[in-house]
Symmetry: C2
Subunit: 468 residues, 2 copies
């Protein structure tokens, strides 16, 4: 993981400048005005100056200064507080920092979905969860279910959301909860691999495939399963597991199974099959389907995902895996995820309880649309890069007709740039190179889900590369 | 996992009887009194009756009826609510259910620490956690730490608690958080196993060892490590990993490493090294030490544990494992665990803010002492069973001098009973047999941490076996 450098020295300089300027102005005014006004004006300017200083300090703290965090509390609290503070304090002079382009490292290698913070801040306390000290002490949630550590509230919220969005069939399925869909993927490998085979079963996925698949499949050198590469080139007459991610990570295209042989077991990963990213064409209806909270609502820190599984034996073995791996899944996370999913559903079904434009998928559909337009504008100005073109289709949920606006941009460096990741790294933009996805180094995967500030810095930097 | 049967039919009968009795009384009063009092008294009795019925319904729901749970919400909320409700409603007749011995299945196979619910209920809102919708969205907590998904609040709470209790040295150590110490154990196997060896490294532990160790070590048929059994019989001249659990699970005795060869890597599991279970002799000071929230405060449902690790390379590899396994650890759980650990520390350091007798370790030390006395009394009456005897020593934290009162009882069936698990199963007491721990079938492990009601039912049943 790479660290985004923070211009703390710039903030400190701004704070110092602000204070000195204010002191100078006060002295000038004292000289010009009568004594009985002096105190009043002194106070006025002192307040302005102090407010600016506190604003700068908060911005510094919010960008990651650990000492301030320990003093003030959670870093995330400052999002609202700093906005409030900076808006409240009068600005007698414009900050010189806002007009100068950001020149630090922009890290878009990983899909950290912090874009969603803004939406959830605007929701205020609607999605607040209160957990009392005596709650969720037991390992067990509902011992009559196959997945006995699945909280019923979470199961209900999942079913409701799928019914609302129409992106998956939930009837006649077992729900298995996991610590992210990452854990569920591993639970599935365990569940569907032949337990007593002399050779590990092959695991394939069509390139470009999710870069974590090979790592996760092989990192324990398991005797049960092994990574066998690109599904397009798999032609062995033996059992296999094919991972189908749709829309695909990294390139955003909808996907079908590729190998299509008789001995295959298909695992469908629908992490991004939500209407802010892609039109919903029909409810997904496969035997094994994965979803994650991280990419549907943005709450990656909660580490919660779910699988919809038809076969009870697979559900049992997945449960067995998760018990051995982590003795179930955090109930605190499940309860929180349940609340958040319910609020998402409520924002569409009970619009009267929400402000205008707060329907979750509608708001974030618009947000993604703006971002993709912004990115395409930055790319179209260049002759250096290109992006995939997505065919438009109609979304059965929203009614919008649009082309995919995926959570990742699969950017290609055109012309003579063969190693796109290195090229962009030279411009202090961190991305994940195509080779990690079984593809050409001319491609990189770029996260479309950072905070607005970072995304704007990125498109601005990309434009500047193009024009240089 | 076995299910504890619930006498729902008994509850329904009670509810029906209560209603009929109330109706009868109302009719009698109506006949006796004047018309203008009728309404008042009707209303009075109706309220009594309704209150009783609601109380019964709540009790039924709290014992696990899924339909009620879906309607009312979380099962755990009823703990306080039902107590309040039943205390408020007058009881015109005594319940016949309380005087008859419970004859259902008593499941003490697993260490579900629900004993702690009562303490945390009494703490009221002191340990309540409020999480807002915009918080903890990111995957990242503190990117400047080796374990970048560790929440600083949690790290601080851990350090404070260890300092207070004096049960572990935290200086010059890296903290790695895990989804329970179960995940951390696996992270450690990954971190310390040679990555490129032609043979998996041997993993041993002295019998009786924790029954999950062999399962967790081998369930993925990893090429990195393999279970090699009882440490007492391990004598190969090759690298090995020894797991030292102290106090031991299942038998409660303090433990040292057993193999003591040069090529060994020691993993110390201190899940139970807390002053409610065993006197604290000195701060644990080993290179690799595991702890878990589940057994220190009782919050097993949160799935949170931590490792104190001296070697940065081991900490890095553990972090790598947890990233591949679950992309970090739920921040909701960490924040909750932080709060709970802080309250535990506060209950000792700021006693004025708490009621008499609410210091966490003191209260639970007394609770465990009462339970062990109760169990020993039940066992001493018999000639069928025996329990370990623990030497007394002084606790540096509490000042108490006592013998271990572990979270599990390592019960032996004496005489001609060779299969203790089957014998007790015949009396509808579910335990875990000694063979799972690499020991004799004359032993069973019994959880000492269920709710009071279950524990009382258990000792009563055990006494009845002894006297038959």
């Amino acid at each position: 993981m790479n660290i985004q450098h923070i211009a703390r020295s710039k903030t400190a300089k701004t704070a110092a400048f602000s204070t000195l300027f204010s002191v100078f102005k006060i002295l000038m005014l004292v000289r010009e005005l009568k004594m009985d006004l002096r105190t009043m004006i002194l106070g006025h300017f002192l307040v302005i100056s102090l407010a600016l200083n506190v604003g700068f300090l908060y911005r510094d703290y919010c960008k990651g200064n650990r000492h301030y965090q320990e003093f003030f509390g959670s870093k995330n609290e400052c999002k609202n507080a700093s906005v409030t503070l900076l808006e409240a304090s009068p600005q007698p002079f414009s900050s010189s920092s806002s007009s100068k382009a950001f020149d630090g490292i922009i890290d878009l290698d990983h899909g950290d979905p912090t874009m969603y913070e803004k939406y959830w801040q605007q929701m205020g306390d609607k999605a607040t969860v209160v957990i009392n000290g005596w709650q969720f002490i037991s390992y067990f949630s509902d011992v009559r279910k196959v997945c006995w550590f699945l909280e019923p509230e979470f199961a209900n919220a999942i079913i409701r959301l799928h019914k609302l969005v129409g992106n998956a069939i939930t009837e006649d399925r077992y729900i298995v909860v996991g610590t992210g869909s990452t854990q569920l993927f591993q639970a599935l490998l365990y569940a569907v691999s032949p337990p007593n085979s002399s050779e590990p079963i092959s695991v394939v996925s069509a390139a470009p495939f999710y870069s974590s698949y090979p790592l996760i499949t092989d990192f324990l050198k398991s005797g049960l399963h092994k990574w066998a590469g690109d599904a397009y080139t798999f032609n062995k007459d033996e059992p296999y597991i094919e991972l189908v991610t749709s829309p695909n990570n990294p390139d955003g295209f909808p996907r079908q199974a590729v190998v299509n042989q008789k001995q295959g077991i298909l695992i469908h990963d629908f992490a991004y099959y939500w209407p802010q990213y892609i039109p919903i064409s029909s409810p997904a209806d496969h035997d094994i389907m994965l979803f994650t909270v991280s990419k549907s609502t943005g709450h990656a820190g909660s580490r919660t995902g779910w699988a919809l599984v038809k076969d009870i034996e697979i559900a049992k073995k997945m449960t067995e895996f998760i018990v051995l791996s982590t003795i179930g899944v955090s109930k605190d996370s499940q309860i929180r995820a349940a609340k958040i999913l319910q609020v998402v559903s409520d924002s569409h079904q009970y619009k009267g309880d929400f402000k205008e434009g707060q329907a979750f998928f509608e708001r974030n559909y618009s947000h993604m649309a703006r971002r993709w337009k912004q990115l395409r504008d930055a790319v179209n100005m260049s002759k250096l890069f290109s992006l995939p073109d997505f065919p438009t289709s109609s979304c059965t949920f929203s009614g919008h007709t649009f082309g995919s606006q995926p959570a990742f941009a699969w950017l290609k460096c055109e012309g003579e740039i063969d190693d796109c990741e290195s090229f962009l790294r030279g411009h202090k933009i961190l991305t994940r190179g195509g080779k990690h996805f079984g593809s050409s180094e001319k491609y990189v995967r770029i996260s479309m889900l950072p905070r607005d500030e970072t995304f704007n810095q990125f498109t601005e930097r990309l434009s500047s590369i193009s024009s240089s």
